[in-house]
Subunit: 442 residues, 2 copies
Amino acid sequence: MAIPKDARIGLSPEDIPKKWYNLAADLKDLQPMINPQTKEPVKPEELEAIFCKEIIRQEMSTERYIDIPEEVRDNYIYLNRPAPLQRAYRLEKYLKTPAKIYFKREDMSPLGSHKGNTALAQAYYNAEAGIRTLTTETGAGQWGTALAMVSNLFDIDSTVFMVRGSYNQKPHRKTLMHTYGAKVYASPSEYTDYGKKVLKEHPETSGSLGIAISEACELAAKSGGTTKYSLGSVMNHVMLHQTVIGLETMEQMKIGEIEPDYMVACCGGGSNFAGFTFPMMGERLKGKNECQFIGVESEAAPSMTHGEFKYDFGDTAGMTPMILMYTLGSQFIPSPVHAGGLRYHGMSPLVSAACNQGFVKPVAYGQDSTFEAGVIFSRTEGIVPAPESCHAIKGAIDIALECKEKNEEKTIVFCLSGHGYLDLYGYEQYLEGVMKDSSAKF
Amino acid sequence: MAIPKDARIGLSPEDIPKKWYNLAADLKDLQPMINPQTKEPVKPEELEAIFCKEIIRQEMSTERYIDIPEEVRDNYIYLNRPAPLQRAYRLEKYLKTPAKIYFKREDMSPLGSHKGNTALAQAYYNAEAGIRTLTTETGAGQWGTALAMVSNLFDIDSTVFMVRGSYNQKPHRKTLMHTYGAKVYASPSEYTDYGKKVLKEHPETSGSLGIAISEACELAAKSGGTTKYSLGSVMNHVMLHQTVIGLETMEQMKIGEIEPDYMVACCGGGSNFAGFTFPMMGERLKGKNECQFIGVESEAAPSMTHGEFKYDFGDTAGMTPMILMYTLGSQFIPSPVHAGGLRYHGMSPLVSAACNQGFVKPVAYGQDSTFEAGVIFSRTEGIVPAPESCHAIKGAIDIALECKEKNEEKTIVFCLSGHGYLDLYGYEQYLEGVMKDSSAKF
């Protein structure tokens, strides 16, 4: 088929936004994190053992716009920013839908996902604060990969605690982090007191994100200030840094005269969804548009569609502050679906509040149907999506098919959060018909 | 470090070249392919059993410029063309070299390599000629992946014969082709007479590129005209289609006022090197520049550095025409290095002729030193390169270090032919110090 020349809307480097957008300035009724010991709102200084001051300031800020430092903007080149907005002409044709479908290309980062957007900002602020090492946990490995790479850009070291089960099952993710120069430990590890304790009690454990978070936090807390902890989702400052995605997209929609009826993104901890939708949602809060924001969850961890809106811990061990969010309970262990980035019991407090106030429509899909969407997308648009991104695609396809039924020419814009080159085992299982639909029962 | 804003030179879609450049118009003393039976130059009609007419016309053309069809240009979007030219500031700083280093980003294709450039053109011409299926062989899998994806763009089918050893050892490449909808057979297969014959004689064989070529050609020849064969390197029309790389690069060098002293690319069958350097080499043949063209081979298959310039077969079984090229002998089996795309006994006849006439300086490196270069590049520039591309990087680094020694501010431009997401096992072996340096002994 002939592909129109406006199929892709690029931006020049000077069009990259100069400020991030903070939804906390416009969304009402936000509740603070609570210290579970004191039952009081967490004070900034209580977070200083693990985060640097500027990160804490951003975490608690209600300023509408926060300047993106010049050096962060310059280094976006290493994430291949700005990222194109592309029209899915061939997918539209395949679906025979009157709807227009666009997608934002976070798959073009050399890291393979959107995770570098906040890793870059966090590494910058920590380097500015004189920090020598960043440490974090990683499950599937996308976040650890991002932190490992960007640490090099600011000449700091990175130490990643990778959930032991993933460490053993996903050797390529570990190798990728090693290639970028990170120290990677299978968690629980002998490298921390908490890790040693867990190993002593459960020598055969395959670990968990909760344990890995605890090890990373211990490393930061006991470093005497040279090491800080870095988180890849959930918290407000992470959502803030990711808004570069949505701000670019809005600029591109202006250029292309695109007025979205739907913006669709996958939802695990919430960072891809928030980064993509919050700038447009901020406008909606001011009555400037009628766009609907669809958050697509995995049925393995459907916190917004099946969880409760309440205060809960961010981790399994109960070491974090209490957060008001949609949660399946901090003891909930999601099934081992391929979309590892969506396996989280809770949801970003900002995304949760927006959902609770009716500004997010959550949906959840099972594994099979999302891989089916991923295969359709691969064959029409030529890009093999990450399993997480397949959820957004499935969400977009379902709306497009509804448009077909109703013969409505709506505009759908979704976020392609990453590519699937390190997830081909999942595709193999799907294509060979041996994929287990590991959804939780609700 | 602060990254200057001119670190990346992009192009807009309308700047994509409108014509490919054909070195055969400017390079002297080119010799035709010979039919081994008749000892006469191959006639166009002898190739019609396996190639469509326009491909044959291009193969034999000595026109300087050949129009890129509008539909091919439109579909470059699916290869993420145009591709940026980027300055490797952080690599320069790491090497402490006065040299300037630039690289052309073929890694940004969703296929992970430059191979789509010719696959796209070949699929287009075959679809125009009414062909329903394209068939090919693949070793490491990059070429088969490219053909599998672009076939979808023109609504034709693809059948790939994958060397059985790779098929079993590289399940992810096979899965990638399946995801794109290709039929993939482990070669030798039960699907062709030749495959059956080989399997009967050698039931345990792990196959070879030569056998896979024979199976693909048989499928085309016996299809009654509905199926044609497609080749990913060596032949003139493949080099032609790849010149989109070098033509874009020249446009970008003009914008950036970059005058290269060296252009460096890896050399297997020659398509990446030819595509990148031929447009600039054409200008040199006219005395318009003094650029040196460095072809970097693997020590496992160093045809230009250690082979003979003579007529030889393109395949192992002796089924192709005889080609005048640098060759290690059509019976030569390269060691199983990770850079599968460089494991070829011969070299493109155009690249060979240019080398024989002194316009290409060939060098060869062992596996360890190229992976070392790849790790340096990953940590400085943030992109994990394909093992083939590591050869170009190693070549560029060595020149940059020579510049440092001599305190010369030269300009080096190399081609990053692809990314290494499906080659992380090689990185793991390198980082763990267990890589065998599988170079041939010369």
